[in-house]
C-alpha cells in the first residue's frame, strides 16, 4: 500500500503565554511543532504499513522550518518526506492549501490512502482534509476512530472498512480505495521516535516542491488564490470579573447554590 500523510507545522500552544496584565496572548518567538493531531494519522499510516506492507510518505506545505515537522514523522518511521514550500504559497486559505496539497499528492504518484489529522491546532478548521479529498475526486471519510479492514489491490484499487465517530455514535462505513481519511485521537496511541529513527531523520533528505513544479498558476496559489480574506484580527481578553470564595466547605456550597439560583440554574 502507498499511504500519504498530510502534516501541518503549527505554533506550539504549550509555549503560548497569557499576558497577566492584558489577558491576551503573547505570541512572540513561539517555536513550531508538528500539529499534535497529525501524529495519530502518522501512527495509523505506520501501522497499516506494518500490516499490509508498502510505503508511507509525509507531505507538508509550509515554510522551510516545517522540515522539523517532517523530520519528526521520519523519526517515527515514515519512509519519505516532501515539503511544499514556495513564497507563492504564503497567505493560503483552506481552499488554496487544499488545491496545492491535492496537486502535490497527484504529482507524487499512485496512492491508496491519504490520511489527515482531524484539524490543526492553529487554524482549527478541519477543512483542508475533506477539501483535498474532494479536489482529488476520491471518497472522504471524516472522524475515523478505527480502521477495521483494508483490502488493497495493486494499482490503487481495493476497499477499506472503518468506523467514524459522530455525535450519536459510531458509523461503520465501507468505501473504495483510493480514499482520504481524517482521523480522531481515539484511533491509536502514537509511538515515540526511536533514537535510531532520530539519527536517520536528521540525515534524511527532504524533497522540496514549488508551485511551478506542480504547474500551479499564480491565480491559484497563496493569497491571490484564496477565496477568503482576513479583514480584521483582534485579541479577546480572557479575564472575567471573578468572585472568589475563600470559605469553609459548608459556606462555599451555600454560595454555589445561591449562584445557581441567581441564574435560575437549579
Amino acid at each position: 500500500m502507498r499511504i500519504v500523510v498530510l502534516v501541518k507545522y503549527v505554533p506550539d500552544t504549550d509555549e503560548i503565554k497569557i499576558d497577566p496584565a492584558t489577558g491576551t496572548m503573547v505570541r512572540e518567538g513561539i517555536p513550531g511543532i508538528i500539529n499534535p493531531l497529525d501524529l495519530y494519522a502518522v501512527e495509523e499510516a505506520l501501522r497499516l504499513r506494518e500490516d499490509y506492507g508498502g510505503e508511507t510518505l509525509a507531505l507538508s506545505m509550509g515554510p522551510l522550518a516545517a522540515e522539523g515537522a517532517l523530520r519528526e514523522t521520519l523519526s517515527m518511521g515514515v519512509d519519505r518526506a516532501v515539503l511544499l514550500t514556495d513564497r507563492r504559497f504564503a497567505g493560503s486559505d483552506t481552499w488554496a492549501t487544499a488545491r496545492a496539497l491535492s496537486m502535490a499528492v497527484r504529482h507524487l504518484g499512485d496512492f491508496d490512502l491519504v490520511l489527515c489529522g482531524e484539524r490543526a491546532t492553529d487554524g482549527e478548521t478541519g477543512q483542508v482534509g475533506p477539501e483535498v479529498g474532494a479536489m482529488l475526486g476520491i471518497p472522504v471519510v471524516t472522524y475515523v476512530s478505527r480502521i477495521e479492514e483494508v483490502c488493497p489491490v495493486e494499482g490503487g484499487a481495493g476497499q477499506i472498512r472503518c468506523e467514524r465517530l459522530t455525535e450519536e455514535g459510531y458509523q461503520l462505513v465501507e468505501t473504495a480505495l483510493p480514499a482520504l481519511l481524517t482521523v480522531v485521537k481515539e484511533i491509536n496511541e502514537p509511538r515515540l521516535p526511536t533514537f535510531r529513527g532520530k539519527l536517520a531523520a536528521r540525515r534524511a533528505e527532504i524533497q522540496h516542491l514549488t508551485a511551478d513544479d506542480l504547474g500551479l498558476p499564480s491565480g491559484e496559489t497563496g493569497l491571490q488564490g484564496s477565496p477568503t480574506r482576513v479583514v480584521k484580527v483582534f485579541y479577546p481578553s480572557l479575564a472575567r470579573d471573578t468572585e472568589m470564595v475563600y470559605e469553609p466547605p459548608e459556606r462555599a456550597v451555600e454560595r454555589i447554590l445561591a449562584f445557581l439560583e441567581e441564574h435560575s440554574l437549579t
Binding site: 505554533p11 500552544t13 504549550d14 503560548i16 497569557i18 489577558g23 491576551t24 496572548m25 499534535p36 493531531l37 483552506t94 481552499w95 487544499a98 491546532t121 492553529d122 482549527e124 478541519g126 477543512q127 483542508v128 475533506p130 477539501e131 479529498g133 474532494a134 479536489m135 471518497p139 472522504v140 471524516t142 465517530l165 455525535e167 450519536e168 455514535g169 459510531y170 458509523q171 461503520l172 462505513v173 473504495a176 485521537k185 481515539e186 477565496p227 477568503t228 480574506r229 482576513v230 479583514v231 484580527v233 483582534f234 479577546p236 479575564a239 472575567r240 470579573d241 468572585e243 472568589m244 470564595v245 466547605p249 456550597v253 451555600e254 454555589i256 447554590l257 441564574h263 440554574l265 437549579t266
Partner: protein, 338 residues
Amino acid sequence: MESYKGVWIIAEQWEGALKPVSFELLARARGLADKLGEPLSAVLLGYNVRRVARELIYHGADRVYLVDHPSLAQFDPDPCANCLERLVREERPSIIVAAATTSGRTLMPILAARLHTGLTADCTELDIEEETGLLLQTRPAIGGNVMATIKTPCHRPQLATVRPRSCRPSPRDTSRNGEVVAKRYPDEVFASRFKLLGFRKLEEKVGVEEADVVVAAGKGIGSPSNLNWVYELAALLGGAVGASRAVVDLGWLPYPHQVGLSGKTVSPRLYIACGISGAIQHLAGMRGSELVIAINKDPRAQIFKVADLGVVGDLAEILPRLVQRLREFRSDAGGEGA
C-alpha cells in the same frame, strides 16, 4: 455575482426528527436575511422528513428546499453533497450557513471544493457589511486566543459553519407562512461510493456539545471513584460530564468527554470546572461558556481567570455536600408538586 441571492441554512435531522441546531441556524440567518432584504431558505435532506419541513417555516424560514430520498436517511457525504451542489447551481444562494457538526464539517468543505468558494469554520459571529452586503465571519483561532473577521469578496456562495449551541434557537410561531419546495433528482444524484454497514449508538450519551450544563472533571478529582459525584452533580443539573485531557489520558473517562484544543469545544450556559488547572489548551474548549464556576484548591489556578465564581477548596469536601444540598433542594421543590 449579483445573480446570487438569498440566505440558506442546512437543517440537520436525526432519524427523521429535526435537530435543535437547525433552529439555532435559523435564528442566526434570519437576521442576515433581514439585513439584506432577501429571503431565508432552509435545505432539508433526509428520508420521510416531509412532515417536519413546516417546522422550519414556523421557526423562521421563508422557504424550505426538501429532498426526500431513502439514500439520505443516514448521513452519506456523496448523495448529500450531490444534492446540495445541484441545488446551489439551480438556485444560486448568496450565503449558506451550516452547523459545525461532524456532518456539517464534512459536507461544507466538499461543497467549497466543488464550487470553488471560501468557507469559514466555527464562526462565533456573523454579520452583513453595510456598504457591500458581504458576509462578515468572525471566528476564533489558535485556541480562542485570537479572533479573526473574514470575508469572501469575489466567490459565491459565501459559506460558513457555526458551532451548535452558540446561540438560542428561534422561537416557534405557527402563524408564519412559507413554501415547501420538494426537489426531485435523477438516480445518479443519489449514487454513493459508500456502504453504510451499521451504526453503533454511543452507550452513554456524552453530549457535552449540546448540554446546557457541563460538569467537567480534572485531575484534581483525585481518583476515578470520585467521578460519581461529578456524574451526580451533572444529573441533578440536567447536564453532561466533561473532562480535561489529563483525566482522559489517565483513562478515567473516555475521549468523547474531553474538552479543549484536542477535544470538544463547548459553550453551555454553565460550565463547572472541578479540579482543573486551566491550561490554555483546556480554556480553548470552554471559554465560550456563558457562566463558569471553578472549584480548585489552588487559589492561583489559571482556571479562576475565566471563572465567574471561583471557589477555593477541596473537592472531596465540596462535591458531596453540593450534591446532597441540591438533592434536598430538589425534594423540597418536588414537595410543592413540581
